[in-house]
């Protein structure tokens, strides 16, 4: 299953624009690396492309967050460490726009698009909506680890971090959060349970699911008056770092810092499946919106695609840099894959030879005879001939 991926090192936009266009067509997964390289992977053709010149990057251009620029998924917004947000156009295959979204301290912890304007959140807690005329600022609290937008209700945004409880905000009402979660009760030693939300996702229209650095997966329902989590499950031994909801919304896939990826059933509150093949910590996970696939990337420099139902690793791509974040496009590439496979098969089957030509070919070849005795005699005669004259 390990396909050999061909790496195209792309050159500057000025050179080879048509090649760039072809390469930019239909990238199924966009991956951002810690060195700042922005990559696209085509799973049907099994290619990985860099969309920048690697040598020109600096450490300050590390990709911290990514999000889709528009509903059609033809644009990708990429947030860098130095506060810039670049927009990548998939059709053109290059970065078209760059806005300076510096504000607050720390890296980007979340990026979203709301009504054509960017919503950014940094580690120090500054959540800002970058409109042209006025900017809406929301102070979320310090040490934010993640900010995500509700796709069903784009005006809602959730944040969480280290000792920073889960908060649900409405961009149109920036003063107070709509929902602020409450910490669980003290544990059996009557000690306060520490809070550290590392990743969160919207489960359905209203519900939220979070994973913590203290190995817990929690489900919150802001619609109910209960502020404590509806479900809290403790898993594994290492801090959970990434989370994604499966297409059927009944289970969640979590990855941890040592590279174990596990599927948790939210109805039962138990671990259902474990995915194998990781060597390093998982930084980002995403399930495909419709197909039963999950893409994961992490510090071991590999991008892996697993099948959710069979736990099988379908693709494993070596991408040479530590990977920070990824975006899985909703396109159905399995059809493309079958098409390319069919094409290859057809090529093999339909050779230009007809039956008569084939018979001729076979006839022209010499017949191999199975005669040991004959060989022996041949050898003897040979050695007799080639003896060195003294």
């Amino acid at each position: 299953m390990n396909a050999l991926y061909v790496d195209h090192l792309e050159t500057f936009p000025s050179q080879n624009p048509p090649a760039r266009k072809m390469a930019a067509s239909m990238q199924h997964v966009y991956v951002g690396a810690a060195t700042g390289v922005f990559k696209g992977v085509n799973l049907a053709k099994k290619t990985a492309t860099n969309f920048q010149n690697v040598a020109s990057l600096s450490k300050e251009e590390e990709i911290c967050a990514m999000c889709w620029g528009n509903q059609q998924e033809s644009q990708v917004c990429v947030g860098l460490k130095n506060g810039l947000v670049k927009t990548f156009d998939a059709e053109q295959g290059e970065f078209t726009d760059c806005t300076n979204c510096a504000g607050g301290e720390g890296r980007f912890t979340g990026l979203a698009k709301y009504q054509e304007s960017l919503v950014t959140c940094v580690e120090s807690g500054l959540l800002r909506v970058w409109k042209d005329e006025d900017k809406v600022d929301i102070e979320v609290g310090k040490d934010v680890c993640r900010m995500r937008q509700n796709h069903a209700r784009p005006h809602q945004v959730a944040t969480g971090g280290k000792e920073n409880e889960l908060k649900l905000w409405d961009i149109q009402q920036p003063e107070k959060p709509i929902f602020k979660a409450k910490n669980v009760r003290n544990d059996f030693l009557d000690l306060r349970v520490p809070v550290w939300v590392t990743d969160l996702q919207f489960l359905s229209e209203q519900k939220l699911v979070t994973c913590t650095g203290h190995r817990q997966v929690r489900v919150y329902d802001p619609a109910t008056p209960q502020r404590r989590p509806a479900l809290s499950v403790e898993l594994g031994e290492y801090a959970l770092t990434a989370l994604s909801v499966t297409p059927d919304s009944h289970s969640v896939i979590v990855g941890d810092s040592q590279g174990s990826m596990v599927m948790v059933d939210l109805r039962m509150g138990k671990v259902q499946k474990a995915f194998k093949g990781f060597a390093g910590g998982i930084r980002s996970l995403q399930c495909h919106p419709s197909l039963p696939l999950v893409a994961s990337c992490g510090l071991d420099r590999f991008l892996r695609i697993h099948d959710i139902n069979t736990k099988e690793m379908l693709h494993k791509v070596y991408l040479k840099s530590k990977l920070n974040c990824l975006l899985f496009s909703s396109a159905d590439f399995t059809q493309e894959q079958t098409e390319t496979a069919k094409k290859q098969k057809r090529k093999l089957e339909s050779s230009n030879l007809t039956e008569e030509d084939e018979d001729e070919l076979w006839g022209s070849m010499s017949v191999v005879q199975d005669s040991k005795k004959a060989d022996k005699t041949k050898r003897k005669s040979k050695s007799k001939k080639l003896k060195k004259p003294k």
Binding site: K59, Y238, Q258, G259, G277, G281, L299, K320, K388
Partner: protein, 345 residues
């Protein structure tokens, strides 16, 4: 002449069987050489008696010795024949067959580094050890052990301290590593080595690069100290040359760079000392030698200092934080040790 029945069993009378065999082929050849008639049974059809069916141990051992002798003879003849043929053919001789070893049967690794790969070069130029390679920092190593070390471990620490220039040995007095690290940073150390001890012997090594470098955890085995090595001379304070062998994959590169960052940049060749980290099958062999060139082709080696073997267990990004830190690579025995020909460094 009727042929013997095919169900004729030849148990414990090997001599009789052979005598019967001798008669048959002679008669066959006079009749027809090529035709195998259904009635005649050629000698090759009767299988040779199975030695293990002989119940008498002395006779069985004798037969076995005879069999081995015969096999050895055949093998030698075959070898001589092949050699003769190869010589006779001269240039046309088929190339000598290379025996398969675990190293040359190694499973293909996509992470093998291509020396001209731009992206990998860029990645390495911007990694945590880059400041050493650009000569911005000089190595200063802090060597310590687990709490309450025993004599072997303290001797090992001292030898390591002698081997690595610009190093300081501190006793660990029950301090947490996480608290040691900020103190080391304030004293401008670049690396921390912690030797872990179990059952009176050093068994683990934690190599932490500062200020924010990766932390590698190794398993130590086969430790031999200076006193245990025969005729080992004393080492001097000269800066040694560092030799890193076989660190080919991306992970191997990172680990190799960590080792290189322990030693000062410029070796003092007058000291003629060399420290070797040789990687083979994911085991890293550490050796410390003094060399002497007798002439252009021959070298004399004198082993100094400690000798030990390392095996990488995990590589964690950032300084030591085993609970909440993110791991770049973790050795997972059940998933990774499935093939004897798959290696990671």
């Amino acid at each position: 002449m009727t042929c013997p029945p095919t169900s004729w069993s030849i148990p414990n009378f090997p001599k009789m069987a052979t005598s019967k065999k001798k008669k048959m082929p002679v008669r066959e050849e006079t009749q027809d050489v090529e035709n195998d008639s259904a009635m005649a049974v050629p000698s090759s059809a009767i299988p040779p008696p199975n030695i293990s069916s002989i119940k008498n141990k002395m006779r069985r051992t004798q037969e076995f010795i005879k069999l081995k002798r015969q096999r050895r003879k055949e093998k030698k003849e075959l070898q001589k024949k092949k050699k003769r043929e190869a010589e006779a053919l001269g240039d046309e001789a088929p190339p000598k067959k290379v025996p398969r070893t675990i190293e040359n049967m190694r499973v293909f690794d996509e992470t093998m580094v291509d020396p001209q790969d731009e992206e990998v070069l860029h990645d390495e130029a911007h990694d945590e050890m880059a400041s050493y390679f650009t000569r911005d920092t000089r190595p200063k190593v802090l060597i310590t052990s687990s709490d309450r070390p025993r004599s072997t471990t303290t001797r090992f620490l001292k030898e390591l301290g002698q081997c690595i220039p610009n190093s300081e040995i501190y006793y660990r007095r029950g301090l947490d590593l996480k608290k040691v690290i900020p103190q080391a940073l304030s004293k401008e150390f670049t690396d921390i080595i912690v030797i872990n001890e179990d059952r009176r012997k050093p068994n683990g090594m934690l190599l932490c690069h500062l200020p924010d470098g990766p932390t590698a955890h190794f398993k130590i085995s086969n430790v031999k100290l200076h006193d245990e090595i025969k005729r080992a001379p004393k080492s001097t304070e000269h800066h040694p040359e560092v030799i890193l062998n076989n660190f080919n994959t991306r992970l191997g590169h990172t680990v190799g760079r960590m080792f290189a960052a322990l030693f000062p940049h410029d070796p003092q060749f007058s000291g003629r000392q060399a420290v070797t980290f040789h990687n083979q099958r994911d085991f890293i062999f550490f050796r410390h030698h003094r060399y002497l060139f007798k002439n252009n082709k021959r070298v004399g080696l004198n082993e100094l200092g400690p000798r030990f073997t390392l095996k990488l267990r995990s590589l964690q990004k950032g300084t030591f934080d085993s609970k909440f830190g993110e791991y770049e690579w973790v050795h997972k025995r059940h998933e990774m040790d499935t093939s004897r020909r798959k290696f990671f460094l």
